[in-house]
């Protein structure tokens, strides 16, 4: 088996196991750590798909920032007695059935669909060289098609940060 094929199966197994632990761990802190494992495994999957820049962004933004934020929130909202009650509410069984049905439906659909375009393009060479330069010029180059979305998303991020500070601060007495 080729190295990349083995790598796909190993990281897929790690990602799935980590995801199951995220939704089933008794302690929410361990959920956060398992989420980091899953996201890192997904970054390796992105690398396998030749999306190097997105893989690095995934590591920096998710594993670096969002996980830290989640862990802070877990610590700030720690509750006594959380270890003794079930972390799954009374919708657990219907939720499992529903999620299973969604997966079964998706699995059947994916098995039945022929991706003709994919078969045709997969034989082509594709962009094998690094994609950092291409992404940079798409976002900010001359006649860049994504320059307005880029600026707008910066505004959204700024608004969200200001909003988060406003929501989370203590009310002045």
């Amino acid at each position: 088996m080729a190295l990349t094929t083995t790598l796909f199966y190993i990281t897929a197994a790690i990602a799935l196991f980590g995801a199951v632990r995220v939704v089933s761990a008794q302690y929410i802190f361990r959920s956060a750590l398992w989420l980091a494992v899953t996201l890192a495994a997904l970054a390796v999957q992105f690398l396998l798909l030749h999306a190097e820049f997105v893989a690095v962004v995934q590591i920096m933004v998710y594993v670096g920032a969002v996980i830290i934020l989640l862990i802070f929130a877990v610590m700030l909202t720690a509750q006594m007695g959380d270890a003794h009650i079930s972390q799954v509410n009374r919708l657990g069984v219907p939720a499992a059935l529903g999620a299973g049905a969604v997966f079964y439906g998706l699995y059947k659909c994916l098995g039945a669909t022929k991706f003709a375009a994919a078969e045709a393009a997969a034989t082509g060479s594709g962009a094998e060289q690094g994609n950092l330069q291409a992404i940079g010029s798409l976002l900010l180059g001359k006649d860049a098609p994504y320059v307005y979305p880029f600026e707008i998303i910066a505004l959204i991020l700024f608004t969200a940060l200001v909003g988060a500070v406003l929501i989370a601060r203590k009310d002045p007495e």
């Binding site: 929410i28 396998l48 939720a95 969604v102 992404i135």
Partner: protein
């Protein structure tokens, strides 16, 4: 291309991650856990986008661009969501989802 791995492999992995995240969103008791499951679902979608980008149109970067924007939105969503959780905890001393029922008739 990865030998022996087709587009379907990635899509099925993504579907499985999405379903696990869906289960977590509905069944988690802790609001932070709900947010974590939400991040799982968003990441499943990202994997979908990049796999399609690679297998269907490898010369374009549309899927990767979409993924970058999704990651940004997810970061913003996590920030605001966690601020709400901290705010709710301060007001009600609880982050359990079933304790926040002010709008229930």
């Amino acid at each position: 291309m990865i030998p022996g791995i087709s587009l379907q492999h990635f899509l099925i992995l993504s579907a499985a991650l999405f379903s696990i995240g869906l289960f977590g969103v509905v069944s988690r008791r802790n609001a932070v856990g709900v947010l974590m499951s939400l991040e799982l679902m968003l990441n499943a979608v990202n994997l979908n986008l990049i796999a399609f980008n690679r297998y269907v149109h490898p010369a374009a970067y549309t899927g990767q661009m979409f993924t970058l924007f999704t990651i940004t939105i997810a970061a913003a969503e996590a920030t605001v969501g966690l601020a709400l959780v901290v705010s709710i905890f301060r007001a009600r001393r609880s982050v359990r989802v079933e304790d926040v029922d002010l709008l229930k008739g």
